[in-house]
Amino acid sequence: MLSERIRIAREIHDTLAQGFAGISTQLEAGKEALFSSPHVAHEHLNLANLLARSCLEEARQYVWDLRHHVEGDDLASVLASMSRKLAAGLLLDFKVLGYPRPISETVESNLLRIAQEAIINAVKHAHARRIQVEICYGSQSLRLCVRDDGCGFDPQRAPAAEGHFGLLGMSERAKSIGGLLRLQTTLGKGTEIIVEVPVDNKL
């Protein structure tokens, strides 16, 4: 299928090609600072490393997507099965609100990636026991909400720490589909990520 090949090419461009360009730029910046300010070089290397890991994660997820994304499955059911898989062993509360309807592939795949990242963060970094995933189809917008009861974090601190780094990617994804990502988190009191995307009803 031509449209499937295009979707794949777009994914690779948006994630891997962008990622490699970022890695290479950070490595060059690291080399530039290597002798004169080793601590600055260290920061650039760290960033390159984090980005490389996140690309690897994207590649893994991407392979998972290819295996599981059956044409015709709607966003809510793909999201449900992905959430079940990622949150295996935890309490998962999955909810669909409003009237589900088809939405564009670009919006769909970006929302799935955001949800994936949020759930992985909740499992890996926040050590959550309970995760709530909610998708709400409004008349003009689509809202995705991922909530956990994990350890939370201080968004002002350590901006390059792993969880925050993924956060930047999520926020960029939300922007790329015309949406907005909001984050609420308090140390010890869990994290909530809400993405709201305007949806054209004709799609």
């Binding site: 449209s3 090419a9 090609a17 650039h44 960033l47």
Partner: protein, 201 residues
């Protein structure tokens, strides 16, 4: 220097490299074309590094708008794309330099110095595909519309519906597209168009 790119990690890396140079100063960073215009007005940088594909407003449009207001402004395009159409459009818009992301920092500095001094900086690979574009026929607006619909996986009948025309007319557009792109079938036409930057993902 002003750096415009929607990818924050890349932008910060480029900005950090430039800032470490004794003869260059970063004045601002922007995440899309519209922001670039505002920051340009505010800081009037000597040289601007500009990504092409960005949300809100793309790079070519931003270069055009800024050059209308500031004809002396200088731009280096910094992009992942190396299709001849992208290069052609950027140069037409008034960019004096072209860099592919993933370049060495020496190349970056060389490009900035060259463009600042009033010359052009177009790597050989880029210049070659620019020549190819100049000698090949461009697609008409209608042909481009048809090509984009083919890309969306639409059949001739669906395309005819979308453009309020007949299937026969669409067929002749498709034949023209295949000829101009030197393609054997629709799939190859899309692949070539993507590679050349005539259409984007």
């Amino acid at each position: 220097m002003l750096v415009v790119d929607d990818h924050a990690i890349l932008r910060s890396g480029v900005a950090a490299m430039i800032d470490r140079q004794t003869d260059m100063v970063m004045v601002a960073e922007a995440g899309d074309g519209r922001q670039a215009i505002e920051l340009f007005r505010q800081y009037k940088p000597d040289v601007t590094l500009m990504d092409l594909v960005m949300p809100v407003m793309d790079g070519v449009e931003a270069i055009r708008a800024i050059r209308r207001e500031f004809p002396q402004s200088r731009f280096i395009v910094l992009t992942t794309f190396d299709g001849d159409e992208d290069i052609y459009r950027a140069i037409q818009a008034g960019a004096q330099g072209y860099l592919l992301k993933g370049m060495k920092r020496e190349e970056l500095f060389e490009a900035i110095k060259a463009v600042h001094a009033g010359s052009r900086y177009i790597p050989t690979v880029v210049a070659r595909s620019l020549d190819a574009r100049r000698t090949s026929p461009g697609l008409t607006r209608r042909e481009l519309e048809v090509l984009k619909l083919i890309m969306d996986g639409k059949s001739n009948r669906e395309i005819a519906g979308a453009l309020s025309t007949t299937e026969g007319t669409v067929k002749s557009y498709v034949v023209n597209i295949l000829n101009k792109l030197d393609a054997n079938d629709r799939t190859q036409a899309v692949t070539i168009a993507l590679k050349r930057g005539i259409v984007h993902l």
